[in-house]
Amino acid sequence: MSPFQLHTIALQAAPSWLEHSLHGNGKINVVVAVVGLIVLGLGLWMWRMDLRLKRMEEQQRK
């Protein structure tokens, strides 16, 4: 049996999409989501602080 044939068998024996995403990517997706969420959270906080300062600026102009 050639290595190529073996590899074909390997691909058949292996894995559904779940296995692929878990073992293939080693669950990196959740790390990306977590880091993304934290950046988003910081961005939201900055936006709120921006609004707060803007209100003060408007009041000062009056």
């Binding site: 068998i9 073992h23 997706n29 790390v31 969420l37 934290i38």
Partner: protein
Amino acid sequence: MKHWWWKIAAVILLLAASVAGLYVPLAPALVHVAPDRLGAGSAEILVTGYNTRFEESMPVRFSNGGDEFCPQRVVVLDATHMKLFVEVPVGLRAAMTDLAIGNLSYPGAFYSKGGGSGFPAMDCGDGTPSPTVGGFTFPNQSILYESIRNLHFHVPMWFAMIALMGMSVWHSIKGLSGTGTLEHDRAALSAVEVGLWFCALGLLTGSLWARATWGTFWTNDVKLNGAAVTALIYLAYLVLRGSITDPYKRARLASIYNVFAFALLVLFLFVVPRLNEIDSLHPGNGGNSGFNDLDLDNRLRIVFYPAVAGWVLMGLWMAQLRTRATRLAEQMEL
């Protein structure tokens, strides 16, 4: 420069910890075998590795009940896939059979009925030591895999939250015991507001991590519920403040509430989850070992501690900005 060195430190620490937390490779490991049940007779087993570099010269060992047997033939398909052709001996003693390839081991890789009377042990030889991914790596733990990196992102959210709540209660006590009541009250409020922000991020990131490791976004775990109750206690602090109009009265009442809130935080996050009678999925609680006993080794620590310091400083910076903005707003309205 004198007053903002710690803000520079926050950025440098966060940059270093985040880059290292994402960039450092995971140690190689055996992650999957198919089939994972063994019966006497010939078997073809496909082994999947992660970050491995399989080579045919690597010694392969099956070990069952203290005795070893080895495959008749090994075919390496690629760096992370290996096919084992093995004649499984009659008389496997234990139900679980361990697999070792080179210096990588997969305890309990295979299940069989077990209960046999043993088999003649084979000498699988030493072979050449397996090549490993060199240099600095993070431990590769079953179920966690790459998500072990979340240690450097999810956990510091809670450290920052606790530091902020601690600073808040310090300001509350100072405000109750001396002059500058309103100024201390302002600082206490800002710290709670930013702390709740980190609490929300901690809950959300934890929920995502739970989905990937425990299979559910939320479970009635003592640590999880404790964190949720703590969040509610601090939300009630904001509600309480909103119900009082006189600033001095508000400062005093909120400060007293804050002392109790912090005591409950310590109780719900540190005391209750560690009670021995209570089981918890979360590492470091109940009968469960923390990462530090098992595998929070120095490779993780060297990234984790700077991440914690960075996020705590970042949280203090955010709270300081809020205090300053609130102070300005109050001065302008007066």
